[in-house]
């Protein structure tokens, strides 16, 4: 069952990654025209992604939290027995970054849905950029940990 849930967790993370990356590109590097693939990618209505990204973050986080004990008992023990401390550290950083990102979600929602000042524009760029970076890091760290035996030929 944990393998199935891990795959669902991964798929939800892909959706969140797509949503947040779209929103971050449209916010940090807005397109001046909509011609071409890259410009079209940056010209989405970023505010429309806010609710979906909050929901996806919460659901992906909750599912990850549910399967976390299985990692702690089986995988981390194995990783530490193999003395791959840096792999364990990658995952530790992921859990801390995601937790801090979770606390930012109400503020993220606020600056996208309620605030319309110049100050909010700056806050939108920072929060969206930070959450995007957190999710990208977590996605990559999760994949490295998931594939650790293949990556290290163990």
């Amino acid at each position: 069952m944990y393998t199935f849930l891990l795959i669902i967790h991964g798929l939800l993370a892909v959706a969140l990654l797509g949503g947040l990356t779209h929103q971050a590109f449209a916010t940090l590097w807005p397109a001046r025209s909509s011609g071409g693939f890259v410009s079209a990618y940056r010209s989405v209505a970023a505010a429309r992604f806010a609710n979906a990204n909050v929901l996806l973050y919460v659901v992906t986080f909750a599912l990850g939290s549910f399967i976390y004990p299985a990692y702690r008992v089986s995988v981390r023990t194995w990783v530490e027995n193999a003395r791959l401390w840096h792999i364990s550290g990658l995952f530790e950083m992921k859990e801390q970054a995601l937790a801090i990102g979770l606390g930012m979600l109400p503020f993220f929602w606020l600056v996208w849905k309620r605030e319309d000042s110049a100050q909010a524009e700056s806050a939108r760029k920072w929060t969206t950029g930070m959450l995007c970076a957190i999710v990208w890091y977590s996605f990559l760290a999760g994949h490295i940990v998931n594939n650790v035996r293949g990556l290290y030929g163990l």
Partner: protein, 106 residues
């Protein structure tokens, strides 16, 4: 006056309290994954690892919610500077690699 005014404060306090709670073991509870049992506060490991992450999250949620709501009456005529909602979490994120350095420098 709406509760959304304190969301920036919540984000800032949550990041600080979570960082302190995890690093200094102020977790509300601990979880023994091999046994499937919980215990209040910091626990010693029993027949396997002990997880403090859930408890540190709970501490951060409760303290951040309490402080945010306590500031609400003072915000009737004032606005919260929005930068604290991202700058404080960013500072906390920047501290974590230092706390975790033992994993990478051996």
């Amino acid at each position: 006056m709406t509760v959304t005014k304190v969301f920036a404060i919540f984000a800032a306090v949550f990041a600080v309290v979570y960082t302190i709670a995890f690093e200094w073991h102020w977790e509300l509870f601990s979880y023994h994954p091999r046994l499937g049992t919980f215990g209040w506060g910091q626990q010693a490991s029993i027949n396997g690892p002990v997880m403090s992450w859930y408890g540190a999250l709970a501490t951060a949620v409760l303290v951040a919610a309490a402080i945010s709501l306590a500031t609400l009456p003072f915000l009737r005529k004032r606005s919260v500077p929005l930068w604290i909602g991202w700058a404080v979490p960013l500072a906390c994120l920047a501290i974590w690699p230092w706390f975790l350095r033992a994993f990478f420098i051996r």
